[in-house]
Protein backbone atom coordinates (compact mmCIF):
# COMPACT_ATOMS: atom_id res chain seq x y z
CA UNK A 1 0.00 0.00 0.00
CA UNK A 2 1.28 3.42 -0.95
CA UNK A 3 -0.11 6.50 0.79
CA UNK A 4 0.09 9.89 -0.95
CA UNK A 5 -0.96 12.75 1.29
CA UNK A 6 0.06 16.29 2.19
CA UNK A 7 2.67 16.33 -0.61
CA UNK A 8 4.58 13.36 0.74
CA UNK A 9 4.53 9.66 -0.09
CA UNK A 10 4.65 6.75 2.33
CA UNK A 11 5.75 3.59 0.59
CA UNK A 12 6.31 0.15 2.12
CA UNK A 13 9.94 -0.57 2.94
CA UNK A 14 11.69 -2.98 0.61
CA UNK A 15 14.90 -4.97 0.93
CA UNK A 16 16.69 -2.24 -1.01
CA UNK A 17 15.97 0.16 1.88
CA UNK A 18 17.98 -1.94 4.34
CA UNK A 19 21.12 0.16 4.09
CA UNK A 20 19.20 3.41 4.50
CA UNK A 21 17.29 2.11 7.53
CA UNK A 22 20.54 1.06 9.17
CA UNK A 23 22.01 4.49 8.46
CA UNK A 24 19.00 6.15 10.10
CA UNK A 25 18.87 3.87 13.12
CA UNK A 26 22.57 3.63 13.92
CA UNK A 27 23.22 7.37 13.78
CA UNK A 28 24.71 8.41 17.12
CA UNK A 29 21.95 10.94 17.88
CA UNK A 30 19.01 8.89 16.63
CA UNK A 31 20.04 5.63 18.26
CA UNK A 32 19.93 7.08 21.78
CA UNK A 33 16.16 6.70 21.96
CA UNK A 34 15.31 3.66 19.84
CA UNK A 35 15.88 -0.06 20.14
CA UNK A 36 19.34 -1.20 19.14
CA UNK A 37 19.92 -1.99 15.48
CA UNK A 38 22.82 -4.14 14.34
CA UNK A 39 24.97 -2.61 11.63
CA UNK A 40 24.41 -5.63 9.39
CA UNK A 41 22.70 -5.12 6.04
CA UNK A 42 22.03 -8.83 5.46
CA UNK A 43 20.39 -9.12 8.87
CA UNK A 44 18.25 -6.06 8.11
CA UNK A 45 17.25 -7.53 4.73
CA UNK A 46 16.29 -10.76 6.46
CA UNK A 47 14.15 -8.77 8.90
CA UNK A 48 12.48 -6.93 6.00
CA UNK A 49 11.75 -10.25 4.25
CA UNK A 50 9.99 -11.53 7.35
CA UNK A 51 8.18 -8.19 7.66
CA UNK A 52 6.93 -8.49 4.06
CA UNK A 53 5.16 -11.70 5.05
CA UNK A 54 3.35 -9.86 7.86
CA UNK A 55 2.59 -7.01 5.45
CA UNK A 56 0.92 -9.44 3.04
CA UNK A 57 -1.43 -10.46 5.85
CA UNK A 58 -2.08 -6.80 6.77
CA UNK A 59 -0.61 -7.45 10.21
CA UNK A 60 2.06 -4.81 10.00
CA UNK A 61 2.90 -1.73 7.92
CA UNK A 62 6.41 -0.35 7.73
CA UNK A 63 6.73 2.76 5.61
CA UNK A 64 9.51 4.87 4.29
CA UNK A 65 8.56 8.50 3.69
CA UNK A 66 9.56 10.27 0.48
CA UNK A 67 9.43 14.05 0.26
CA UNK A 68 8.48 16.34 -2.62
CA UNK A 69 12.09 16.23 -3.88
CA UNK A 70 12.10 12.43 -3.97
CA UNK A 71 14.31 12.11 -0.89
CA UNK A 72 13.66 9.18 1.44
CA UNK A 73 13.70 10.95 4.80
CA UNK A 74 11.92 8.99 7.53
CA UNK A 75 10.48 5.67 8.61
CA UNK A 76 7.36 4.82 10.57
CA UNK A 77 5.86 1.44 11.50
CA UNK A 78 2.43 0.28 12.58
CA UNK A 79 2.06 -3.14 14.19
CA UNK A 80 0.33 -5.19 16.92
CA UNK A 81 -3.07 -4.59 15.33
CA UNK A 82 -5.68 -6.08 17.65
CA UNK A 83 -9.39 -5.29 17.42
CA UNK A 84 -9.64 -1.52 17.90
CA UNK A 85 -6.05 -0.78 18.94
CA UNK A 86 -2.65 -0.84 17.25
CA UNK A 87 0.86 0.24 18.05
CA UNK A 88 2.99 2.80 16.22
CA UNK A 89 6.74 3.25 16.38
CA UNK A 90 10.04 3.34 14.51
CA UNK A 91 9.47 7.04 13.80
CA UNK A 92 13.00 7.92 12.77
CA UNK A 93 14.07 10.76 10.49
CA UNK A 94 17.13 10.82 8.30
CA UNK A 95 20.08 12.26 10.26
CA UNK A 96 20.45 15.94 9.43
CA UNK A 97 17.05 16.21 7.74
CA UNK A 98 15.86 19.70 8.60
CA UNK A 99 12.33 19.87 7.22
CA UNK A 100 10.45 19.48 10.52
CA UNK A 101 7.12 19.98 8.83
CA UNK A 102 7.61 16.87 6.75
CA UNK A 103 8.64 14.85 9.80
CA UNK A 104 5.46 15.87 11.60
CA UNK A 105 3.36 15.10 8.52
CA UNK A 106 4.54 11.48 8.65
CA UNK A 107 3.31 11.16 12.22
CA UNK A 108 -0.05 12.69 11.40
CA UNK A 109 -0.52 10.53 8.30
CA UNK A 110 0.26 7.37 10.28
CA UNK A 111 -2.23 8.28 12.98
CA UNK A 112 -4.84 9.02 10.32
CA UNK A 113 -4.02 5.65 8.73
CA UNK A 114 -4.64 3.93 12.09
CA UNK A 115 -7.84 5.78 12.94
CA UNK A 116 -9.42 6.31 9.54
CA UNK A 117 -8.32 3.39 7.38
CA UNK A 118 -7.77 0.63 9.93
CA UNK A 119 -10.68 1.98 12.01
CA UNK A 120 -8.75 1.74 15.27
CA UNK A 121 -10.17 3.64 18.21
CA UNK A 122 -6.82 3.88 19.99
CA UNK A 123 -3.14 3.81 19.18
CA UNK A 124 -0.40 2.99 21.64
CA UNK A 125 3.22 4.03 21.52
CA UNK A 126 6.30 4.12 23.70
CA UNK A 127 8.80 6.93 24.10
CA UNK A 128 12.14 6.99 25.88
CA UNK A 129 11.90 9.28 28.91
CA UNK A 130 14.96 11.22 27.78
CA UNK A 131 13.46 11.97 24.39
CA UNK A 132 11.95 15.20 25.70
CA UNK A 133 10.95 16.90 22.47
CA UNK A 134 9.12 13.83 21.19
CA UNK A 135 7.27 13.46 24.50
CA UNK A 136 6.25 17.11 24.37
CA UNK A 137 5.13 16.78 20.79
CA UNK A 138 3.03 13.67 21.45
CA UNK A 139 1.43 15.35 24.46
CA UNK A 140 -0.06 17.99 22.16
CA UNK A 141 -2.55 15.29 21.15
CA UNK A 142 -3.48 14.64 24.80
CA UNK A 143 -2.68 10.93 25.08
CA UNK A 144 -2.85 9.21 28.45
CA UNK A 145 0.16 7.66 30.12
CA UNK A 146 -0.69 4.06 30.87
CA UNK A 147 2.61 2.83 32.25
CA UNK A 148 6.21 3.75 32.96
CA UNK A 149 8.83 1.04 32.88
CA UNK A 150 12.47 1.93 33.37
CA UNK A 151 13.36 4.46 30.68
CA UNK A 152 10.11 4.01 28.77
CA UNK A 153 6.80 5.87 28.99
CA UNK A 154 3.83 4.06 27.45
CA UNK A 155 1.03 6.16 25.97
CA UNK A 156 -2.40 5.51 24.53
CA UNK A 157 -4.03 8.09 22.26
CA UNK A 158 -7.70 7.82 21.45
CA UNK A 159 -9.25 8.83 18.16
CA UNK A 160 -11.31 11.62 19.66
CA UNK A 161 -8.34 13.41 21.21
CA UNK A 162 -6.38 13.02 18.00
CA UNK A 163 -9.13 14.62 15.96
CA UNK A 164 -9.68 17.45 18.45
CA UNK A 165 -5.99 18.38 18.54
CA UNK A 166 -4.90 17.63 14.98
CA UNK A 167 -5.90 21.04 13.66
CA UNK A 168 -3.80 22.85 16.26
CA UNK A 169 -0.78 21.00 14.92
CA UNK A 170 -1.73 21.54 11.29
CA UNK A 171 -2.05 25.27 11.78
CA UNK A 172 1.57 25.34 12.90
CA UNK A 173 3.08 23.33 10.08
CA UNK A 174 1.61 25.24 7.19
Amino acid sequence: MIIKKYNIILQPVEEEDAELIIAFRTDSKKSRYISETKNDIELQKEWIRSYKEREKDNKEFYFIAVDEKGEKYATYRLYHIENDICEIGSWVSKPGYTNATNSIKVDIIMKEFAFELLKCEKVKFEVNKSNHSVIKYHKLFAPIIVDEEGDIIKFILDKNNFEINRNRIFKNIK
Partner: protein
Amino acid sequence: MNIQEFIFKFKSQLENDKFVVNPETDYVNSEFWDSLTNMVINVMLEDDYNVKLTQEELNSFSSVQELFDFVQKQQK
Protein backbone atom coordinates in the same frame (compact mmCIF):
# COMPACT_ATOMS: atom_id res chain seq x y z
CA MET B 1 1.53 39.13 32.31
CA ASN B 2 5.11 39.44 33.49
CA ILE B 3 8.31 37.86 32.27
CA GLN B 4 8.51 35.40 35.16
CA GLU B 5 5.05 34.02 34.44
CA PHE B 6 5.98 33.76 30.78
CA ILE B 7 9.20 31.91 31.58
CA PHE B 8 7.31 29.56 33.90
CA LYS B 9 4.93 28.64 31.08
CA PHE B 10 7.74 28.39 28.54
CA LYS B 11 9.75 26.13 30.84
CA SER B 12 6.80 23.94 31.69
CA GLN B 13 6.68 22.93 28.01
CA LEU B 14 10.18 21.50 28.09
CA GLU B 15 9.52 18.29 30.08
CA ASN B 16 12.83 18.70 31.84
CA ASP B 17 13.52 20.73 34.98
CA LYS B 18 17.25 20.67 34.33
CA PHE B 19 17.06 23.24 31.57
CA VAL B 20 17.75 26.78 32.76
CA VAL B 21 15.58 29.43 31.16
CA ASN B 22 15.89 33.13 31.96
CA PRO B 23 15.17 36.36 30.06
CA GLU B 24 18.60 36.26 28.39
CA THR B 25 18.30 32.67 27.21
CA ASP B 26 19.01 32.36 23.49
CA TYR B 27 16.48 29.56 23.24
CA VAL B 28 16.92 28.90 19.51
CA ASN B 29 20.56 27.96 20.12
CA SER B 30 19.89 26.09 23.36
CA GLU B 31 20.33 22.35 23.65
CA PHE B 32 16.61 21.84 24.26
CA TRP B 33 15.53 23.60 21.06
CA ASP B 34 14.49 21.58 18.04
CA SER B 35 11.67 21.56 15.53
CA LEU B 36 9.28 19.68 17.80
CA THR B 37 9.96 22.10 20.67
CA ASN B 38 9.30 24.94 18.25
CA MET B 39 5.92 23.35 17.54
CA VAL B 40 5.09 22.94 21.23
CA ILE B 41 6.02 26.55 22.12
CA ASN B 42 4.06 27.81 19.13
CA VAL B 43 0.95 25.97 20.32
CA MET B 44 1.45 27.44 23.82
CA LEU B 45 1.70 30.98 22.38
CA GLU B 46 -1.50 30.49 20.47
CA ASP B 47 -3.42 28.79 23.28
CA ASP B 48 -2.30 31.04 26.13
CA TYR B 49 -1.60 34.36 24.41
CA ASN B 50 -3.51 34.16 21.14
CA VAL B 51 -0.29 34.90 19.27
CA LYS B 52 0.29 33.10 15.99
CA LEU B 53 3.80 32.75 14.63
CA THR B 54 5.36 30.67 11.88
CA GLN B 55 8.20 28.30 12.76
CA GLU B 56 10.61 30.71 11.10
CA GLU B 57 9.29 33.72 13.04
CA LEU B 58 9.65 31.87 16.33
CA ASN B 59 13.22 31.03 15.38
CA SER B 60 14.02 34.67 14.67
CA PHE B 61 14.09 36.01 18.24
CA SER B 62 17.42 36.21 19.97
CA SER B 63 16.20 35.70 23.54
CA VAL B 64 13.23 34.81 25.69
CA GLN B 65 12.98 38.48 26.64
CA GLU B 66 12.69 39.48 22.98
CA LEU B 67 9.98 36.90 22.41
CA PHE B 68 8.16 38.04 25.55
CA ASP B 69 8.30 41.69 24.41
CA PHE B 70 6.84 40.70 21.07
CA VAL B 71 4.03 38.71 22.67
CA GLN B 72 3.25 41.59 25.00
CA LYS B 73 3.03 44.05 22.10
CA GLN B 74 0.66 41.73 20.26
CA GLN B 75 -1.68 41.72 23.20
CA LYS B 76 -1.99 45.48 23.47
